[in-house]
Amino acid sequence: MDLEEAEGKRVLAEAGIAVPPGELCADAEAAAAAAERLGPCAIKAQVPAGKRGKAGGVRLVDNVADARAAAEAILGMEIAGHRVSRVLVEKRADIAQELYVAVLNDVESRAPLILFSATGGMDIEDNPEALIRIPVDIMQGVERKQIFSRVQDDDVSDVLARLYDIYARTDAELVEINPLARLRGGGLLALDCKLTIDDAALYRQPGLAGRGAREKLSALEERGRELGLKYIELPGDIGVLANGAGLTMTTMDVIEHYGGAPANFLEIGGEAYTKATAALELVLANPRVKSLIVNFCGAFARTDVMAEGVVRAWETLQPTLPVFFSVHGTGEEEAVRLIRERLELEPFDRMEDAVRAAVAAAR
């Protein structure tokens, strides 16, 4: 789960990391009023995506009129697929230097990793060699003097130690400040914040669980979420209903291999396998879908239960588009019997053949 900048900065401020005074505004008038209170400021699009500056979503303004104009331009803008509905109006800082700091779960070393670079800002990714990496012992945590020995700066060590505490306390996958500004008058100020919480740990982060940025979802994806199904809408015309992330991705791969294009990713693995009825309704609600592949390979998931759900949904909805089944694994015999008897269809022995038929039918 990603937090938007303003939410992330609240977490920073609570941990004692300085952030600029700012106000979250949903319209240009509010932004203008905020600018009047704050003086010269930055108007920043609030979307859970990087590279906002490069996309034109951040503007520096010196007066109220410019603030209003900038907010008008940015609100409603689309950045990385997200519509901007709020801007953060923030008092501008007198910056001497832009730094980069982060703490993340490093999968390669299976340990927390602290990152620091003296050259932060928009082009941080172009300067990987400037990055100082400090691996952390997850049991011991990290001490300020240990960080200091690598970064040679008291203020930065202080911010990094606090950032590590945030990482540890919030089950963050990543907490990043870029840029961390060194001010002309001294001191450090977090000008941005990216905070990503491990979804698997949200159950023990009740204070943060409700503060996540809304993902950009299509209407169908929104419905999928309400149903507790992982549904991603894709631009193709072949509906996909499979169980397990691996099998679903593979079914999509085979569709592309034979020149087709999948209309969705939809996983009904794990406990969700009992939701086959709702899942099929969701796939069929996409008007672009011209044919459907149903690919079940059950172990934990019982193919007979999934097939029953699909058959029931099929009988209720009575869709007219062609559907192709491939069913293997736990409950296979019963699943095949159901499909034969109630839909009068013959499942394919091989997934490949079912996919080829679905691709041909969509043409």
Binding site: N105, V107, E108, R110, A111, P112, D137, I138, M139, A168, D171, E173, D198, D199, A200, A201, Y203, R204, K230, I232, L234, A242, N243, G244, A245, G246, L247, T248, M249, T250, M252, D253, V254, I255, E256, H257, P262, F265, E267, G269, G270, C297, G298, A299, F300, H328, G329, T330, R350, M351, E352, V355
Partner: protein, 292 residues
């Protein structure tokens, strides 16, 4: 021969009183030699009770001392699953297979830290388990699709493992062992570890390796294969068509910064002498073509 488990392995179920633990323990007992393999269960609140004749102990240590079990399978819910692994490692088991999906990454980082210097091998979490056909299955895979033979299977995806096994069966090829290593970013055995075991297993003649987008385990394994593997390996990577940056259900399967894409993995594997296919329906046939 086989790897990791055989008909003589003695197994305990951690989380034996839950619905999932009970269902799959029953299924595993009904498979091949399962009746004599699954000998113990663990639940701290229900020591002295039993499930279908399997005695339940309060701790892994007690279950081990009482029954001689050296392996465990974990169905404990996510908030408690890492602690269940820790307990099994602390008790000095040889093998822990964790089926549980959705364990927080930080919990797994801690658990991997605690495992340093310990002898216990971990498979998973978020995996289907391990099967040595006609001998023993530990996990949630459908037993009946497997048969004994010379092919090793290692996979990050459960359903794709079954697909590979199904194709092998169609071609009359059985398996020595099949290992689902799971889709989580921080886990136990990696592709490379399982390939090492297959390399040293007299019964295994060739290996199917099924990867997934995200991380760099497949690349690492491929480089090892180039230098060390004495048996043919064929490979497939799921997620060629996955849109960049979209989470497709496995926390590990996230493409980031151009690394870990299916295309890159396939290229490295091919460079290292692994025969690859971009069509998963071809896994079985491709493997047959490389058999001596």
């Amino acid at each position: 021969m086989s790897i990791l488990i055989d008909r003589n392995t003695k197994v305990m179920t951690q989380g034996i009183t839950g619905k999932t633990g009970q269902f799959h323990t029953r299924m595993c007992r009904e498979y091949a030699n399962g009746k004599s393999c699954f000998v113990a269960g663990v639940n701290p609140k229900k020591p002295g009770e039993s499930y279908e004749g399997i005695p339940i102990s309060a701790t892994v240590k007690e279950a081990k001392e009482r029954t001689g079990a050296t392996a465990s399978v974990i169905y404990v819910p996510p908030p408690f699953a890492a602690a269940a692994i820790d307990e099994a490692v602390e008790a000095g088991l040889d093998l822990v297979i964790c089926i549980t999906e959705g364990i927080p990454v930080r919990d797994m980082i801690r658990t991997r830290y605690r495992m340093q210097g310990k002898k216990t091998l971990l498979v998973g979490p978020n995996c289907p388990g391990v099967i040595t056909p006609d001998e023993i299955k530990i996990g949630i895979m459908p037993g009946h699709i497997h048969k004994k033979g010379p092919i090793g299977v290692v996979s990050r995806s459960g359903t794709l493992t079954y697909e590979a096994v199904g194709q092998l069966a169609e071609l009359g090829l059985g398996q020595s062992s099949c290992v689902g290593i799971g889709g989580d970013p921080v886990n136990g055995l990696k592709h490379i570890d399982v390939l090492r075991l297959f390399n040293d297993d007299a019964e295994t003649e060739a290996v199917i390796m099924v990867g997934e987008i995200g991380g760099s385990d497949e690349e690492t394994a491929a480089r090892w294969v180039k230098r060390n593997m004495r048996k043919p390996v064929v490979g497939f990577i799921a997620g060629v068509t996955a849109p960049p940056g979209k989470r497709m259900g496995h926390a590990g399967a996230i493409i980031s910064g151009g690394r870990g894409t299916a295309q890159e993995k396939l290229a490295v594997m091919e460079e290292c002498g692994i025969r690859i296919t971009r069509n998963p329906a071809e896994m079985g046939r491709l493997l047959k073509s490389v058999l001596k």
